[in-house]
Symmetry: C2
Subunit: 221 residues, 2 copies
DNA sequence: CAATATTGGAGAGTGATACTCTCCAATGTC
DNA sequence: GACATTGGAGAGTATCACTCTCCAATATTG
């Protein structure tokens, strides 16, 4: 398989494939001569994955590279892989510039609303986990925006999240560790957009079926 | 309140405030003289909101502008506002370049897996809604990536999403239409990161408490 | 009232990201 | 043997979100 075939098989322009090769998002093909390298199914798969992570998952190329590296790491338990994936994802959405929070003195606040909330639910998570900081930031942003996101509503969301988390974990294949890691990492990234879409649709359904609309129906598409 | 006070009150640099004014993300202050304009609480609020939408919600400035416009639209029912918000959000995450799908012939596929799935659940959503296309794209990406996202797993996610959607809709204030629209639109954008974080934490909790780890514990933070 | 600071406005510059284009000689293909 | 393709590298492009520089016209302060 030549580079043009690879391009055709995936729908990614040749120039972009070359760029990905340069940026080490795609492993080099087997060099046949100075002007030819052979690509195979592994390249097609990888390329598809890169596009899925960036286009659907919304990751930057740098983040996608980290996530792919986590998948290919050979000696990693699924739990560790999940940690790596979650950490990789946090590298990019925002560089929290410690703006208005009066509690951000030390590098890691030992106690915060999120930590208390999570502990109160009996969830066992690492107290130093950056996801907790992310939750703090998001929760505070909701407060500042005037959304009434109180503990009760949070608890309902957490119930739903727990259900989702259970489904996530249950669907991890127990065949090979490799497959498990793959599922965990990709599931973390690629299922998010699915859940976001489902939430939007559920909102519509609930709003329509309970007659919350004050006057008109949906706007035409 | 001068521009420097506004800057100080929000933590946003003066140059950036000027930029937002130029880009119409912030309404102009009351002009007092040729070199002075007065800003008030509404500017502080708006600026805070812009930062929340972009930093926490991950929106581009263009999308944030559309979302804010939806909030300020006076004659809009909450349902319509939700539609506007959802539509605004779709403008940017990906410009679906109709790559590998063999089913993308007409502009809007009249029937798709997502549409069938949603219909099968009895959810009432507009069949032309772009969120359905988003769901199709995300679902297909999961398939291509080899995640076994079958209908059963989807059904569980949909159950959780319905719970979330119910909570969303229930928490819409019934006081003024303005407040309702605000809650709906901001809730759509700002609660997403909260849910993502909760999902990550729930995954960890479930994984730890069911002992899915094969060897080691969590990596240190 | 004079020295100094700040403002609005506009334009240009910056750095990051993700490509896309151009060239080239070496090779492959018909 | 003519023509197309390839790998490799560099440079160019477009978008985004700022950030910087300038300026003369005010404001503020001593």
């Amino acid at each position: 398989m030549r580079i043009s075939d690879l391009s055709e098989a995936t729908g990614v322009p040749v120039a972009t494939v070359k760029y990905y090769l340069r940026e080490r998002l795609l492993h080099p093909g087997e060099v046949v001569s100075r002007t030819q390298a052979r690509y195979d199914a592994s390249h097609v798969e990888r390329l598809t994955l890169v596009r899925a992570l960036t286009e659907v998952g919304g990751l930057s190329l740098a983040t996608a590279r980290r996530v792919l590296a986590a998948i290919e790491e050979p000696d990693l338990s699924p739990l560790d892989a999940m940690a790596v994936a979650q950490r990789s994802l946090l590298g990019e959405p925002d560089a929290p510039p410690e703006d208005a929070g009066p509690s951000c003195d030390a590098a890691g606040p030992p106690d915060s609303r999120s930590r208390r909330f999570v502990a109160g639910r009996g969830w066992q998570v690492h107290p130093g986990d950056p996801v907790l900081d992310q939750l703090d930031a998001a929760w505070e942003a909701c407060d500042r925006a005037g959304l009434g996101l109180d503990e009760e509503r949070m608890a309902r969301y957490a119930d739903a999240a727990e259900q989702i988390g259970r489904t996530d974990v249950e669907s991890v294949p127990r065949t090979s560790p490799q497959a498990a890691v793959r599922q965990v990492v990709l599931g973390t990234v690629l299922i998010d957009p699915v859940l976001v879409a489902l939430r939007r649709l559920a909102q519509q359904h609930v709003a329509v079926s309970t007659g919350s609309s004050s006057r008109s129906g949906m706007l035409g598409p």
